[in-house]
Subunit: 193 residues, 2 copies
């Protein structure tokens, strides 16, 4: 992001580590994937990992923070297609449908990491921050769309979002995101009449 070299520069050890951690942690879980697998894929020495991140826990946190950042930018970018506030609200489910349709989709990375991490650790911190952001986004979009009770509508949409994400994870060829979008359409219509 911040690198603007004339020729395509070789990514730094930090960037390669994060890329490898992102792929492996998301695909197989943070506990299953060991340090050796990550440094091998990144082509990086073990000492570089520990001088950069300090511990595996911190690498996991960095992985999740990167996911959070990516999610925010992708979602906001996807919403710029729409002008009408209601379309923007439903656009969240459009973006989710595209995401769950991609081959490598394995559900919410925060939920997945949380399922195998102790409570109170860094994973929980990043996860709650991510959830708060999601809820805040739905609240703002609901308010802009003219909902009578934006908080209540946001709560409903969060349930639909979580359900679509979980369904996309657990079922093969899941249509859960599209189903969620249909329900959301009904709810938005009822909340803004």
């Amino acid at each position: 992001m911040s690198a603007a070299s004339p020729t395509t520069r070789k990514p730094s050890a930090r960037e390669r580590l994060l890329a490898a951690a992102d792929e492996l942690f998301y695909a197989e879980g943070v506990h299953t994937v060991g340090i050796d697998r990550i440094i091998e894929r990144a082509g990086v020495a073990k000492a570089s990992l520990y001088s950069t991140f300090g511990s595996k826990d911190e690498l996991v946190r960095a992985y999740l923070e990167g996911r959070h950042e990516l999610r925010r930018t992708r979602l906001l970018a996807g919403l710029e297609r729409y002008d009408d506030p209601r379309d923007r609200l439903l656009g969240v489910f459009e973006v989710l449908a595209e995401l769950t349709g991609t081959p490598g989709f394995r559900g919410c990375p925060f939920y997945n990491a949380s399922a195998e991490s102790p409570t109170g650790g860094p994973v929980e911190q990043v996860s709650t921050a991510n959830r708060a952001w999601t809820r805040g986004l739905f609240f703002e979009l609901a308010r802009d769309a003219g909902a009578k009770d934006p908080a209540a509508l946001a709560d409903q949409l969060v349930v639909l979002y979580d359900g679509a994400s979980a369904g996309g994870r657990m079922d093969k060829n899941s249509r859960a995101a599209l189903v969620a979008r249909e329900i959301a359409t009904m709810l938005v219509a009822a909340a803004t009449l």
Copy 2:
């Protein structure tokens, strides 16, 4: 279940192992919890575990099968309170709300185990069986309630169920199950008018 001894008999090694595995696996994850923790809590020798289950993977499968069985009986028992088919349909969310409200609730055990297990393993098998049962239950209840398109309504209710379960896992004092019940009420009314 099948034991009807006059005096309260000491549970067998298998039963104690399953009880300990259920508590620990669900609370902390199947990967985090080692064999030694389980046999210590169960008060069972390691050799007994391996002569009974053969491997940790098989113990995990037995744990999930026990969860599946328990879920079926609890859900069906909870639904017997209601006579009206629509109430029975919504009763699923009533039972879920009670479940997510209990202190030890940590989300869907099948999703959690699946998040840290390789695809194609025994965990995936039991999980898909459990999901198929859930969807079948919703389908039958939707049909009995007179839904025009029971399959479509079942798909919608599965999304709500998954969303409520995930929300109950990730948010403190989540009201997701109640929100899901409200949405389900709307959907059932719209599908059976």
